[in-house]
Symmetry: C2
Subunit: 356 residues, 2 copies
């Protein structure tokens, strides 16, 4: 919802602006439309951290040739239900949309499809790719490595990523269940925000560059520290698994040699690696039966008693879906700083940007 | 290591005792050998909570016909790289060993294999099944639902399981990486132990039956409370995903209707559901290349600096593998209470039990 610090924009206008910005940076119309939809949809679903806030840096990276303007995605190996793709430093959003589509095609034929991609780049909101599987009543999954921000459990060096995973499960009348999280206790943005506000952070969120638990948000991240894995050795293990399932399996760049979006990178290959899975419920209980059972399962969870002080139990993805529904009608709220950044970008690229 | 409160037993003797106990309960030799190996190996690897400590209850359940003595595992559907199996209330250990084997066969043909099983039972240590894939240089994965012990995030009803997952990744000269954890902050055994010792538990481990955070270990579990999901909404989301990928996908029993090992259950079907995945690195970077890259990746993590007060960074599964190596030579330590339970079982079944 818009407040003193946000400005509203219609979803279609936001998407259209993103598309034209990509086109102005030399991206073909079809690919520009894919990224624009994904970026605007992130904000529509309330995931502003991975939405149009990133548009200026994405455009800058295209202009500097840090990222390939036209998606090049070649098949290195294809066997049975699997495919292994090389993305040559193309935009992560476009690469991932195509790789997930391929996993779905494989699943239609083989019951399951697994696609691993190397040499891709930042792909935004993890959950939007497995959600593509929902259109065909398939289960979708993705995992990825990322830029360095975490130390190994017991370590002090920032050599691991927060390596997200996401699952999307179709339901019938109920909203789909979309699990989407990364393997740190909190995102780096929370520490940057706390530092800006002059606030301390709880012990357990991060360690400083010497591996000491810290309540200083600067020491915990921007000053060379590392975010802590969620659930201690559990988040550490999961983050390792996702790195292995993407970068090690693909022979791609490990997290520690991946530069963040905000670093100079003349290599032309940010190098993030991802793996995508699609699974067909028709090979098990059946597609229709699965969706109906999902409805029942969701209801059982939602209708179980709430803890004191809790109004409602949410399934993963439910809050984002409700936000999407509301913002389609009321408009998408952008933080004032983001709105100003987009306005500056519009001026620079000679584009029109219209708020609601 | 043996202490005043433990007794040592040779691994082969422990395994042999388990096998003969199963045979005495009417299990065929081949299947008895499978479960015996898995149970004794749990203790060998230091995972006593899921090892021979459970032998007496497993035997009792067979004697009471709560569990099928001869494994019956039928194929409900088979398409491409997937299989859907019905276990008819057979022993989870035997079922899972066969299901994992099938997933590996499918992966050899299709690059990946996915097997979902319904109507199985308690299978012990999750990680031992994906570890089977290591023998063929494949990646293994399993997830499962379990008996109820957790409330949904924001809820107060014990309707979810701790729904474990495990990955096993082969390496070359290095130990394989075996990620194996469940989705609660701590296992229920930790609360039972604290209650026995009269200790309180940290806030955040559990909620009482009304959903209030509690430091009383009895209120948090045995008194009707629920264990907390690890990482709050993250562990909740992962536990849901594992329930959906096993029980909902298989049309089997959801966690909330699964009885624990220690409850009367005349149905003859405990009903746990599991899913198994095997993935062939030859479809990606290559088997040999993957194992070599694993070695390098493991070394990078191990050789990164340790936090102050930490002697060494461990990869998941490393401590268990070292324990296994040591206890193969020195003997497997059993808690005195477990040793006495096994002695009583030996007397009852007319078997010989020899400690080291």
């Amino acid at each position: 919802m818009a407040s003193a610090q946000t400005r509203l924009i219609r979803f279609e206008d936001l998407k259209d602006f993103c598309r034209r910005a990509y086109e102005a940076a030399g991206v073909l119309a079809g690919e520009a439309a894919i990224v624009a939809e994904l970026l605007a949809r992130a904000d529509l679903r309330g995931v502003a951290s991975h939405g149009v806030m990133r548009l200026p840096i994405y455009i800058e990276r295209l202009e500097k040739d840090y990222v390939r303007k036209k998606c090049q995605l070649t098949t290195l190996r294809q066997k049975g239900a699997t495919a292994f793709l090389q993305a040559h430093g193309s935009m992560g959003h476009v690469v991932s949309q195509r790789a997930m589509r391929l996993a779905m095609e494989l699943a239609q034929t083989h019951g399951i499809g697994w696609v691993t991609v190397k040499d891709s780049g930042h792909f935004g909101v993890t959950g939007l790719f497995p959600m593509m599987a929902l259109e065909e009543d398939l289960i979708g999954y993705v995992c990825s490595n990322s830029a360095p921000m975490m130390a190994p459990f017991g370590g002090k060096s920032r050599i691991m990523g927060n390596n997200p995973l996401s699952y999307a499960f179709p339901a019938d009348q109920r909203l789909p269940v979309v699990v989407d999280f990364s393997c740190t206790v909190v995102a780096s943005g929370r520490l940057i925000l706390a530092r800006k506000k002059g606030e301390s952070i709880p012990l357990g969120w991060a360690v400083d560059k010497d591996g000491h638990p810290t309540s200083d948000p600067f020491a915990g991240y921007e000053g060379g520290g590392s975010l802590a894995p969620v659930g201690r050795h559990k988040g550490y293990g999961l983050a390792l698994a996702h790195e292995i399932l993407s970068a090690v399996l693909g022979g791609g760049k490990w997290t520690q040699s991946i530069k963040s979006l905000y670093e100079k990178d003349d290599s032309g290959i940010q190098g993030t690696c991802h793996s995508f899975l699609a699974l067909d419920p028709d090979c098990f209980v059946g597609r229709a039966e699965f969706k109906q059972a999902m409805d029942q399962y969701i209801e059982t969870v939602k209708d179980s008693g709430t803890a004191e002080g809790v109004a409602e139990i949410f399934l993963p993805g439910e809050i984002e879906a409700r936000t999407e529904e509301r913002c389609l009608v009321q408009g998408v709220p952008l933080a004032e700083a983001t709105a100003q950044d987009l306005e500056a970008l519009a001026v620079r690229l000679g584009l029109r940007l219209r708020f609601a």
